[in-house]
């Protein structure tokens, strides 16, 4: 584990993998033979959903990773690693047919549920069928609804057919946790089954207790099929206030600050704390300005280009985010195998932006605001109220855009309001938001940018930007049906180039979260491909 204080640049450069590099001349600490000690993980949101197939947010998923197992998961480097499956199916090993339609999964032998019942292919079948059960409140059926003819060919083997080839399904399954047929299948209504508040999984930890509004305690599953667990107990502690979360980390009551970590204003001080290690982790989500492409001036590509050029991105990142995030031109994180490194770099050039608007016919009117054909270059920008960092960013943007004759007004709202119909039905003019566009580690963005996914026009996806482009539609369909990674990479490079060219989003930066770990706690490996860095607590242990 690298101490951030020793060499900040090195850590930023090397990324998460470097955090695991052994220190020269120092013996690597070894995990104990039996689970020992406990870890208190501080969270600023409360995990409340414990059925991993029901609607839950990142903080819930952090708990799921420790109670349940998927067939395979995505490691920090983006590789799929078998978990409950013996191997990850591919077209090369015959697990997926060449046309992508027939799937066969061989399961790992000797896996048991926390109550001792053996895990079998019947559980996998039950899980996939439950997701597609119309009476069940499944979180998402994306990909799953294409599954047909599920057959249990042996207790440790399952096959199914896909209605059409869908490459992202591998990634979707890496985030789909298996649930026990013998418990949930016997429950009358899976939506209200006692299982949902006392879950039984195959994961490294067992459910122990929950004090609502306070904490969730898990204990080691000594019959776990994988590596670990090395901790006797994990406590997920809900601390709603980020200042209090940081204080408890500072006073030692919390061993690890997980979601939402340490706020940027505390980072400088946190680095000086004795016995604490601070990690800056690049996240998969991209902070951006989401324009409503059907709204007046924002429908004009020249306006979006000028607005983008007018943003002093570097000043925003340095002054408000303490230089922690990485500027981005893409919707994909830099670490993705599909990331396009050749996108044109953002250039802060107000003079060029002004010239572009002049050329496009946007003339300055009264008050310095431009207009064209009676349409003023004015719009609102919305984000969640009570987020001081974003509110400061809005003020900077307002200044930048005023310099080119564009008027922006702040119209912030509480989370429950802004992310409701206002966002889903594209009732905004522009929004400042961070979105993780990937499905696990998969770059498919069909629900975000395909013209059939516009909610405001009766679509079923999340294309709230209302982006409609024929070439994009064609590329998205192509990318989702390709199983060869080299071919897919080429497709997604073009998709990124097209989005950058059209500026369907104004990308600002790839988010960086700062998390703290108490010294002596080993095994912490940030993983942007999972929804939470608590994904591998099974491998954590205290130095003896």
């Amino acid at each position: 584990m690298v101490d951030f204080r020793t060499d900040r640049r090195a850590v930023l450069g090397l990324g998460a993998a470097a955090a695991l590099a052994p220190r020269v001349g120092r013996a690597q600490p070894r995990p104990p033979e039996r689970p020992r000690g406990q870890v208190v993980v501080g969270l600023s949101q409360e995990p409340t959903v414990f059925n991993p197939l029901m609607p839950g947010i990142e903080v819930d998923q952090g708990v799921w990773w420790n109670l349940f197992s998927p067939l395979w998961f995505t490691d920090p480097e983006g590789n799929l690693v078998a978990d409950l499956a013996q191997d990850v199916p591919t077209t090369e090993n015959g697990g997926i047919s060449a046309d992508g339609l027939a799937w066969k999964v061989k399961l790992r032998p000797g896996v048991t549920w926390h109550d001792g019942t053996p895990f079998t292919a019947e559980d996998v079948k039950f899980t996939l069928e439950l997701i597609n059960n119309s009476a069940f409140r499944a979180r998402s059926r994306v990909g799953h609804q294409l599954v047909r003819d599920i057959q249990v060919t042996a207790p440790d083997e399952i096959t199914w057919r896909m209605e059409r080839a869908y490459a992202p399904y591998l990634s979707i399954l890496s985030l789909t946790f298996m649930v026990p047929k013998h418990i949930l299948g016997a429950a009358g209504d899976p939506n209200t089954a006692p299982f949902n508040n006392a879950p039984v999984g195959t994961g490294p930890f067992r459910w122990a207790s929950r004090t609502a509004g306070d904490n969730i305690t898990l204990t080691a599953n000594t019959a776990y099929h994988g590596n670990g667990p090395f901790l006797e107990r994990v406590v997920f502690k809900y601390i709603p206030d980020l200042t209090v979360l940081y204080t408890q980390f500072r006073t030692g009551q919390v061993d690890h600050t997980s979601i939402q970590g340490i706020s940027p204003p505390f980072v400088r001080e946190a680095r000086t704390l004795r016995g604490r290690t601070i990690h800056v982790n690049q996240q998969a989500s991209v902070e951006h300005i989401a324009p409503n492409l059907e709204y007046g001036p924002l429908a004009d590509k020249a306006v979006r280009q000028a607005l983008y050029m007018a943003i002093n991105k570097r000043a925003l990142i340095d002054a408000i985010y303490y230089g922690l995030p990485t500027p981005s031109e893409s919707f994909l994180p830099r670490q993705s195998w599909a990331f396009n490194p050749d996108l044109p770099a953002h250039r802060h050039d107000p003079a060029a932006a002004n010239a572009l608007l002049d050329q496009a016919g946007w003339r300055r009117g009264a008050g310095g605001v431009r207009e064209k054909n009676g349409v003023k270059l004015e719009f609102t920008n919305s984000t969640t109220t009570g987020n001081p960092v974003r509110e400061q960013s809005q003020l900077l943007l307002m200044q930048d855009w005023r310099a080119i004759g564009a008027g922006m007004r702040v119209q912030n709202m509480p989370a429950a309001v802004i992310w409701g119909e206002f966002w889903q039905q594209s009732r905004f003019q522009s929004v400042m938001v961070a979105v993780n566009f990937t499905l696990g580690a998969d770059p498919d963005v069909t629900p975000r940018f395909h013209s059939s996914a516009i909610g405001a026009k009766g679509g079923r996806g999340q294309n709230n930007y209302q982006f409609a482009n024929e070439e994009m539609d064609r590329l998205l369909v192509l990318g989702a049906t390709q199983f060869d990674q080299a071919q897919r990479r080429a497709t997604y490079h073009r998709i990124q180039a097209l989005l950058r060219e059209e500026l369907a989003i104004l990308p600002l930066f790839q988010r960086a979260d700062v998390e703290g770990v108490k010294e002596g706690l080993n095994g912490y490996r940030p993983n942007q491909n999972c929804s939470s860095n608590c994904w591998n607590i099974r491998e954590w242990f205290w130095t003896a």
Binding site: A416, W419, W423
Partner: protein, 316 residues
């Protein structure tokens, strides 16, 4: 007395129905909804959000939703939380213990200190003690609780390291001494403000009483000063405190949002805030009805106690 009780309970029931109708309407007509928290996530599409909203019955007309909720509530079913699927009464019950522990401790401390300080201030009116008590109360009432809380955490947890900076207990411990150590800071901070309130009430009430004719008569009869203060003045001055205590009942069980947040105390105040933030309609409605019932019960209880303690008051 029984006629009074029946009449008051009848009025209370009508009020509760009105509160439920207004509360339900305001809550559901406010923009946003329980599905918003999932909308900016990566793996739920509009189709998923619409499907779940339909399954939760959120798309039905508001009067239908209200009628169903009201009918089920009459049968003792207060619904289930949208967040964790728990029965609303269980959710409220699981947070009540923490709130009661904190609020009872703080209120007891505040009553003891506040009544003592208020009495002493009234007896020694315009003394140095009275001035200090008045200034102290004003400061305690003027400065926000969260500031007191943060200063206390900095002083006793970060700097001196004597007390934990929050939580109800240490994970994995939970012994009585551990619980008490965790209780000290939040209870002290909360008691500080409440002491100021109680001391001001008591001082004012005591000043009213000590100028009454019967006190002068007692003095003229040669009754010892201590006996006058305790038997005659204090007892009568404490009567209005019963009303204050009765009105405090909802506060006792409603929790202290700021203190609970600063000290990570899993009580009712935080539950209410979280439920509002997530638009967890069944829980918000449950808390609303619970609080409204407590307000009505508290004022009824205060009236009854007043009648018991003061023979001049006749209910009927």
């Amino acid at each position: 007395m029984s006629g009074f009780l029946v009449r008051r309970l009848g009025q209370s029931l009508v009020l509760l129905v009105l509160v439920s109708m207004v509360g339900f309407a305001i809550l559901h007509l406010a923009p946003g909804g329980p599905m918003s928290q999932f909308a900016s996530g990566s793996d739920m599409t509009q189709e998923d959000l619409d499907r779940i909203a339909e399954q939760l019955g959120l798309n039905r007309p508001l009067p239908v939703q209200y009628a169903e909720w009201f009918w089920r509530m009459l049968q003792g079913d207060w619904g289930r939380s949208f967040r964790d699927g728990e029965a609303v009464l269980n959710v409220i019950g699981s947070h009540l213990g923490a709130t009661l522990q904190l609020m009872l401790t703080a209120t007891l401390l505040a009553i003891l200190l506040g009544v003592a300080i208020g009495t002493l201030s009234a007896i020694r009116r315009h003394s140095v003690f009275d001035t200090l008590a008045t200034v102290g109360a004003m400061i305690a009432l003027s400065i926000p609780t969260f500031w007191f809380g943060l200063v206390a955490i900095y002083l006793f947890s970060v700097w001196l390291g004597w007390l934990p900076s929050g939580n109800r207990s240490t994970p994995g411990d939970g012994s009585l001494p551990d619980l008490l150590r965790h209780l000290i800071l939040p209870a002290m901070v909360l008691a500080l403000v409440e002491t100021a309130i109680w001391s001001r009430f008591m001082r004012s009430s005591m000043l009213d009483v000590v100028n009454q004719d019967y006190i002068r008569t007692a003095r003229a009869k040669g009754v010892p000063e201590g006996r006058i203060l305790l038997r005659h003045a204090f007892r009568n001055a404490a009567l209005p405190m019963i009303t204050v205590l009765g009105l405090q009942l909802p506060t006792l069980l409603g929790g202290a949002l700021v203190t609970e947040t600063v000290f990570t105390w899993p009580g009712m105040g935080r539950l209410f805030l979280d439920s509002i933030s997530y638009r967890d309609y069944p829980v918000v409605m449950g808390i609303l009805m619970f609080s409204a019932t407590l307000v009505l019960l508290g004022s009824l209880l205060a009236d009854l106690l007043h009648a018991v303690a003061d023979p001049r008051i006749r209910l009927g």
